[in-house]
């Protein structure tokens, strides 16, 4: 089967530059919004997903749906920390971090009237080993027994008094900022960390909110869960740390994704309508050419394919432009409230090569859909009518 040379389509497209450009640009904008919104949703999800590790378990009081609403007695944390399934550090001590979890209001930089609810987590000194992807970016770790805090790097610069050496005030006390830490892009980077024993008396009394433990055998999670949840000495729910944080992102993440698809779908319909118009006009104005092609012996199927390719090509160009337009957004830090934990979480837009590819693919799909009926009409055009 003879294929109509692509050059014909490319040349024809160039013959109507304005119309082509407008259509391509319309597609481009849809793709930009698509990529932008999914990058937002993905960034949020990524931050929370990276927050947990498969190797760790998070223990909360039974029935609590977040660290905020949980409460664990010292007795409970002591019992579980001593369990055999807990991994041991190089010094022989169990890798466990019983933690205090509270929300404190902090004044935002430049806008002292607006207070944001920031997570303050009282951790054990083991936390730096229990959680694998932590790194001190600046300063040194808080010393035991001191009113010192280490700030996740997403807080730095966005809130007042966050530089190393400065003093933060919350919970009725002053705390010296002694370091900044990074945590592999996870939600921890939006938190204030201090020593759990220091936080306890200030906030909740003699109780922790959660216990994070490293399992020596991550595959044994199900057994551990069954054993500890059935243990009469304690009343707990055991979660795999990675799963837990992923669920925390579920509600907002789902909303963002639904929103992304909804908005881009509606925009896409508009762009497709634009493509349809353009292609129908193209077919109509090129009727004599089509007639000639059919007379020469090209099959209707070739004509159909030819116009589909043309439409897809215009959309492809639009898709590429749209992807490029979306790129600058990558890495921009934004914040919102994670309603599950009622805390502020900062995260960055995350554009992956996969997302860019999806955007371009989405564009081509729009082009094919938009071009289908016009191409169909072109293919079915009676030669005589076309040549008139």
């Amino acid at each position: 089967m003879m294929h109509i040379p692509i050059l014909y389509n490319v040349r024809s497209v160039l013959q109507r530059p304005v119309s082509t450009a407008l259509t391509a640009l319309g597609v481009a904008l849809v793709v930009t919004v698509f990529i932008g919104m999914l990058a937002l949703a993905d960034g949020f999800r990524a931050a929370l997903v990276r927050t947990g590790s498969d190797h760790n378990v998070l223990v909360l009081r039974r029935g609590a749906d977040s660290e905020l609403s949980s409460g664990l007695e010292r007795e409970t944390t002591d019992i579980l920390t001593a369990e055999p399934q807990v991994a041991k550090g190089s010094d022989g001590r169990p890798l466990a971090s019983p933690e205090v979890y509270v929300i404190v209001p902090l004044a935002q930089n430049g806008d002292t009237m607006a207070l944001k609810n920031v997570v303050a987590r009282g951790v054990s000194d083991q936390v730096w080993t229990v959680r694998a992807n932590l790194r001190i970016e600046q300063g040194k770790r808080p010393e035991s027994g001191h009113a010192e805090v280490c700030l996740g790097k997403n807080l730095v610069g966005r809130f007042e008094h966050t530089a190393v050496g400065e003093s933060l005030h919350f919970g009725g006390r002053d705390w010296t900022v002694v370091c900044h830490f990074s945590a592999g892009g996870s939600a921890f980077e939006s938190e204030i960390w201090g020593e759990n024993e220091q936080f306890m008396p200030v906030f909740r009394g003699n109780v922790f909110q959660s216990l994070t433990l490293r399992l020596s055998d991550p595959a044994a999670f199900e057994d551990v869960k069954r054993a500890w949840e059935g243990d009469r000495r304690v009343t707990v729910d055991v979660h795999r740390e990675s799963d837990f944080y992923m669920e925390q992102s579920e509600l907002l993440g789902r909303i963002l994704r639904i929103l992304a698809w909804l908005i881009t779908s509606i925009m896409a319909v508009g762009a497709v309508f634009g493509a349809v118009n353009t292609m129908y006009a193209a077919v109509a104005s090129r009727a004599p050419e089509i007639g000639v092609l059919l007379t020469l012996g090209f099959r209707p199927r070739s004509v159909l394919l030819s116009f589909l390719v043309e439409s897809a090509f215009i959309a492809l160009v639009g898709g590429i432009v749209g992807s490029l337009l979306a790129l600058p957004v990558n890495g921009i830090v934004t914040s919102t409230t994670n309603w599950a934990s009622f805390s502020e979480i900062a995260f960055s837009f995350r554009i992956t090569p996969g997302l860019l590819l999806s955007g371009v693919l989405f564009a081509v799909v729009m082009g094919v859909i938009g071009g289908f009926f016009p191409a169909w009409r072109a293919a079915r055009m009676p030669v005589v009518q076309a040549l008139r």
Binding site: V18, S19, L22, T23, L25, G26, L29, V30, T32, V33, G36, M37, L40, R61, R62, G63, A64, D65, S66, L68, S69, V102, I103, V104, P105, A114, L115, K116, N117, F170, G171, G172, V202, F203, T235, L251, I263, I266, M267, V269, G270, A271, F273, G274, V276, N277, T278, Y280, A281, S285, T334, S335, T336, T337, W339, F342, E344
Partner: protein
Amino acid sequence: MKFLPLLWANLTRHKRRTVLTVASVALALFLFASLRTVVTTIARNAAAGSAQRLVVQNATGLVFPLPLSYANRLATVSGVTGVSYANWFGGRYGDGKRFFANFAVDPATYLDLYPELQLPPDQREAFLHEKTSAIVGQRLLEVFGWRLGQDVTLQGTIFPGDWTLTIRGVYTPANRSIGDDMLLFHHDYLDERIGRAGIVGWYILRIANADAAPQIAKTVDDQYRSSSSPTKTGTEKAFQAGFATMWGNVSLLMNTIGMAVVFAILLVTANAMMMSARERTKEVAVLKTVGFSDGRLFGLVMLETGIITLAGAAAGLGGAKLLYRATNFNAAGFLPGFDVSVATLVLGTSIAFLLMFASGLVPAMRAARLPVVQGLRTVE
């Protein structure tokens, strides 16, 4: 107007193109109105708090409780005409996927301080007298299929266990900013079950004179400043506004997308208009021969564009307004009172006009400027 048949004939010449273009405009403006309404709803709800109610929280943070014992002292503060308190319960119903606000309150004083929660008197009495009863917002009956008099069981998250309550009242909010999907039950019941801990989540104070708010707030906070549970008092308005900021950069996001949408549509409309114009060069020349002036042709093209954009605007904006009204949409409880405001409609219409000018200008000017002789010579 007498030129209507000519305009109409031109618009229906390519029915499909016209319909698609109108539909594109409608979709874009529907989207625009929806996005903008998210922003306006958040803003409106933020400003909706009463200026005559103050909220007293624990200064350490929203999540920390205050002693129940403060109630009596607060009532004696000068300027305060009523005191109530509430505790965030955070319970879930069923599979827990549908979030709704539920809290424990002091029934008599809470209903007194919140006349916006409208209840039939008999239901009110029933609620007040039964310790394990609850009142729910109208919408929850639809969402969960509850009925008046039914027992419902909530899973406690902060206060663990199963909590069974009897629905004795269904309230309707007096204004749209107050959610119609809350559940309120007796604080006494909560307190009793958790072993008389004597704590509340926050206090609400009604004051006689809104202007005295800062003064009264300071009095209260000064009183408890050095206690173990220091307070932070502010107007309910400020309290609501605080929640609004939790949405973060949503406004910026919505506005940006809104602009992108409008721009995309502009391209589609402009393209359609230019295509139409290009096909009619000969006819424009003929009309000029007959005696239609340049200015008149300019006007006709603009008018034609205008009909398309305004028809699309009516469909899109009107559709949004009606849809959200009819479905009583409130984003699963997060955006109560979601309603396309008049300001948004006006803004949307202005955009339609902008669209008309932007996409019609080039074809209209081309038509106006077309030299007749050249136009007649073109072989279409």
